[in-house]
């Protein structure tokens, strides 16, 4: 076994050696993955097994013997599964409706469906309380409901689905757009009913996308701590929050690390499950042959039902963001509705430095993360080399690990010579690059699996080397996924909180940390104003990238963007 493995590795090595650039790229990426993902994580793992400087399982025994933490584990898994199912459901409805029907206001629905990925920490949850809580605008003033249980299971599930379904929408929209509608047309022509065509053609083709969207949602929900921190509360414990609380509330770094490790188990299992499942069901629909859509695979009744469902969700999302605007521009959120600009004046006097820092950090780290993600996706899907699985798994790791743990890991790992990085810009950049690289990889892998390798093989047969094949053939096909991933990681970098709370310094501070401070000190108006500015910056960035793409590639370039 090891002999064949060794021989295969040797053969792969020899092939790679013919392409020195490829070899260097692989080596550099592997080295950085070890240094900036594996090393900080191992620091945390070591801490969880060495509570008193000696190796011991005592921390894990303590964790498993607590009914409360077992409950937290169960709640997290349940919340992850339900959010994945419901979020992908909503995301699929949006993606399918916008890709396969001719409902009115498509652009508007598209914009609304991606807006929630721009969700400033804490403020979204607060806004939900302002709308649907006991004294909420909808629940109390419109519906006159009493004693709504916004805290705990229902409130959190609602917030998580609203926050994370856009991720599913973006993934599935990309997948559905790349499934040629002519396949559906052909099935219809062959006499299939519309429902049968959907069930037997569209759905199976979209399955790999649905699976990967579910994976992303499950893992993101599992690791998320902004919404549960506000909406879960102690009576509905959530593992990621408990890990954070053990470290920051009980000062128990070993126990917090242990909880984080436990959180990793389902994340990584799901990751492998998805890999196994998706890799067995491989569909190629971009074949290089021209396609044209006739959009007749949906009946008019179904179309208007889908339209109604989308409208309902769109209204909910508009309300949530309107509530934030409302908070930013009135004197006292919910009580004194006099218009004021005081909160914005306050933000510009106290927090302007943070706005600038945030832009610099997100602006530098995002393109690097995007390119790195695409390169890794390409290597993993299309190339054979030793340690390929290690590269794939380790680059996805930071995605599954709660930010708190990454943050602590970075501080533990990079606070002494020769890797003295704490307090610098670099540590924030590195954290963001390696934390958001999986986003690019995910979208890159999803699109590459859809592209028939025979297109690339044809280029190679025609005499192109692997570099120009990648540049002239593969890369253009990856452009939509690349820029979608780019914007997605930009948004995440702008809205991240859990890891960076440990990494910001007096020289480099971030807007999200400011929002958290303002929420903590009770300046809800200022926090809302900060959030409005944050959302505006992100929207501006998306528009600028769109404009550049349109300029460079014509109309095609602008529309390749999933945003």
């Amino acid at each position: 076994m090891s002999d064949t493995w060794g021989r295969r590795s040797l053969r792969q090595l020899r092939q790679i050696a013919n392409d020195p650039l490829l070899l260097i790229v692989i080596l550099v990426i592997l080295a950085s993955l070890v240094l900036f993902i594996i090393y900080p994580l191992s620091k945390v793992i070591i801490t969880s097994f060495l509570p008193d400087g000696k190796f011991s399982f005592s921390v894990f025994k303590e964790v498993f013997s607590s009914w409360y933490l077992r409950q937290a584990f169960y709640n997290s898994i349940m919340m992850g599964i339900l959010t994945a199912v419901a979020g992908v459901g909503v995301g699929f409805v949006f993606a399918f409706t916008l890709a396969r029907t001719d409902i009115p206001f498509k652009k508007f629905f598209h914009l609304i469906a991606i807006i929630p990925i721009i969700s400033p920490p804490f403020i979204g949850a607060l806004s939900i309380i302002m709308l649907f809580g006991n004294n909420g605008f909808i629940s109390d003033h419109l519906l006159h409901l009493q004693n709504i249980k916004i805290y705990g299971f229902r409130g959190l599930l609602f917030a998580q689905v609203v926050t994370f379904f856009p991720v599913a929408y973006i993934t599935l929209r990309g997948v559905l757009d790349s499934i040629s509608p002519t396949l559906e047309d052909a099935a219809l022509d062959l006499g299939g009913t519309r429902f049968k065509v959907f069930r037997r053609v569209t759905l199976p083709l979209a399955l790999p996308g649905i699976a990967s969207a579910m994976l992303i949602l499950f893992v993101e929900t599992l690791a998320d701590f902004g919404n549960p921190l506000i909406l879960a509360g102690s009576q509905f414990p959530i593992l990621s929050v408990q890990a954070y609380l053990q470290i920051t509330g009980m000062y128990d770094l070993p126990k917090g690390s242990a909880l984080a490790l436990i959180l990793l188990v389902p994340s990584i299992s799901v990751f492998f499950l998805q890999k196994y499942w998706v890799s067995r069901k491989k569909y190629v629909t971009i074949t290089g042959k021209p396609t044209s859509s006739t959009l007749k695979s949906v009946s008019p009744i179904a179309k208007w039902i889908l339209f109604a469902v989308c409208t309902f969700f769109a209204l909910t999302i508009i309300l949530i963001y309107a509530a934030i605007l409302w908070g930013a521009f009135v004197k006292v959120w919910g009580f004194n509705n006099t218009f004021t600009l005081d909160h914005f004046k306050y933000v510009f006097s106290v927090g302007f430095g943070a706005v600038k820092d945030t832009l610099i950090i997100a602006g530098i780290s995002t393109p690097i993360a995007g390119i790195l993600g695409m390169v890794i996706a390409f290597l993993v899907v299309r190339k054979e080399f030793p340690l390929k699985h290690f590269m794939e798994v380790s680059s996805m790791l930071s995605f599954a690990v709660p930010g708190t743990v990454i943050g602590i890991g970075y501080v533990l790992a990079f606070n002494s010579h020769p890797l003295l990085l704490t307090g610098t810009l670099l540590i924030l950049l590195l954290n963001f690059i390696f934390r958001y690289v999986p986003v690019g990889i995910q979208s890159g892998v999803a699109i590459l699996r859809q592209v028939d390798p025979s297109i690339e093989e044809a280029a190679i047969d025609l005499g192109a080397d692997s570099r120009s094949t990648f540049r002239r053939v593969t890369l253009p096909l990856m452009v939509p996924a690349f820029f979608s991933g780019l914007i997605f990681s930009f948004v995440r970098a702008m809205t991240a909180i859990s890891a960076v709370i440990f990494l910001v310094s007096s020289n480099w501070n971030l807007m999200t940390v400011q929002i958290m401070s303002q929420v903590e000190s009770g300046r809800l108006g200022a926090a809302a104003a900060f959030s409005v500015i944050l959302v505006l910056i992100i929207l501006a960035a998306i528009l600028i990238i769109r404009a550049i793409l349109t300029l460079k590639y014509g109309r095609f370039g602008g529309t390749t963007l999933k945003f």
């Binding site: 650039l21 790229v25 990426i29 080295a31 950085s32 607590s66 409360y68 309380i129 809580g133 006991n134 004294n135 909420g136 004693n147 921190l229 506000i230 509360g233 102690s234 009576q235 609380l245 920051t248 509330g249 009980m250 000062y251 770094l253 006292v332 959120w333 009580f335 004194n336 390119i371 790195l372 390169v375 602590i408 501080v411 533990l412 606070n415 002494s416 020769p418 890797l419 003295l420 990085l421 704490t422 610098t424 670099l426 590195l430 570099r467 540049r471 890369l475 709370i501 440990f502 310094s505 007096s506 020289n507 940390v513 401070s517 303002q518 929420v519 903590e520 000190s521 009770g522 809800l524």
Partner: protein
């Protein structure tokens, strides 16, 4: 494009380790000081701006709540990034002292403070204090038609079911203060019986120590329990709140300041510590509307705050509270949370 971006990527990844050496050691001076502020962002800025105006020393700070701050100072022990840890209740500073993260500083300012507000050896001094209280949202209370509560026992009444928010002691020092002061006032078993009876009335236990003030301010709940500054702040902002000090008495916190071991700006750090407890530093607390109680009796109080001496307070031995924290919090999780 691919080649260029690859080269840039490689260049960046190769340069990273070398960039490390560019982070040169900071110079030792007395004209600046770096602070981890567990006082909230806005107030930390106001206090430190006043300090800079008074002394000419530039103070840069990062806001971190007490947990993340201590976690960071611990992780950075080999190479401290900050000179002073300002804010966070004194038990955190007791912990920092016992873990060897802070250094003692003896100066005349230490002897002027009452014993409850300092470490005898000078490792930390408290520079303000806050009592625990209820805040009642008068509009939300009117809506459920409940009377104004005046005592801890009032909160057990069924009329408040699902209308009270307080922080969870798992996360917040504020909530642990509630638990430990109830234990001191009632005895441990009686205190836990009380909290178990209170559990059905609690809408949610917030993770942040100041979470309940937001809940009560926006009317999500009728009653919030926590330290007073955020309550007074919300009243100042115009929210319909009333602060109630329950008649059985309340605990209080005394946030402190420590100099971090290995501070690179030691002299400026010492000046800051002395200034914080001086009359000038203490007057700033009310001038800039922090709604913190000064520890220096000579300092003035902000509008709307009752004299601290008029309140019935419950003193909790900081050392005892720290030693028993793990046990009491676990007991809380096991006995209070499942209570119906």
């Amino acid at each position: 494009m691919m080649r260029k971006s690859l080269l840039i990527l490689i260049a960046v990844l190769l340069v990273l380790p070398f960039a490390v050496f560019a982070t040169a050691e900071k110079e030792v001076t007395a004209d600046k000081v770096v602070v981890y502020a567990s006082v909230d962002e806005g107030n930390a800025k106001l206090i430190l701006d006043a300090f800079t105006a008074d002394t000419g020393i530039t103070a840069s700070f990062v806001h971190l709540s007490s947990g993340p701050a201590l976690a960071r100072i611990t992780a950075e022990a080999n190479n401290p990034q900050a000179d002073v840890w300002m804010g966070a209740p004194s038990e955190n500073h007791v912990l920092a002292k016992s873990q060897g993260l802070s250094v003692a500083y003896n100066s005349p300012s230490l002897s002027e403070l009452e014993d409850a507000f300092k470490d005898a050896e000078g490792y930390w001094r408290s520079f303000y204090m806050n009592p625990m209280a209820f805040a009642v949202n008068t509009e939300a209370l009117a809506k459920i038609g409940a009377p104004m509560p005046t005592s801890w026992d009032d909160l057990l009444k069924p009329v408040y079911k699902g209308h009270i928010q307080m922080p969870t002691p798992q996360a917040s020092g504020t909530a642990y203060n509630i638990v430990s002061s109830l234990v001191v006032a009632r005895g441990e078993d009686a205190a836990f019986q009380y909290m178990a009876k209170l559990n059905p009335n609690v809408q949610t236990y917030t993770s942040s120590g100041t979470g309940s003030s937001k809940g009560v301010a926006v009317g999500q709940c009728a009653i919030g329990i926590q330290f007073t500054p955020a309550f007074f702040k919300f009243i100042d902002e115009g929210y319909p709140l009333k602060v109630v000090f329950p008649k059985e008495g309340v605990g209080f916190e005394a946030p402190a300041v420590s100099i971090i071991k290995g501070a690179k700006n030691m002299e400026a750090a010492q000046i800051l510590v002395d200034w914080l407890v001086s009359k000038e530093g203490q007057d700033v607390l009310s001038e800039v509307k922090t709604f913190f109680y000064p520890v220096n009796a000579k300092a003035t109080l902000a509008m709307g705050m009752p004299q601290f001496s008029e309140l019935k307070t419950i003193g909790v031995d900081v050392q005892w509270a720290g030693d028993n924290k793990k046990r009491l919090v676990e007991r809380w999780v096991n006995e209070v949370l499942p209570a119906k």
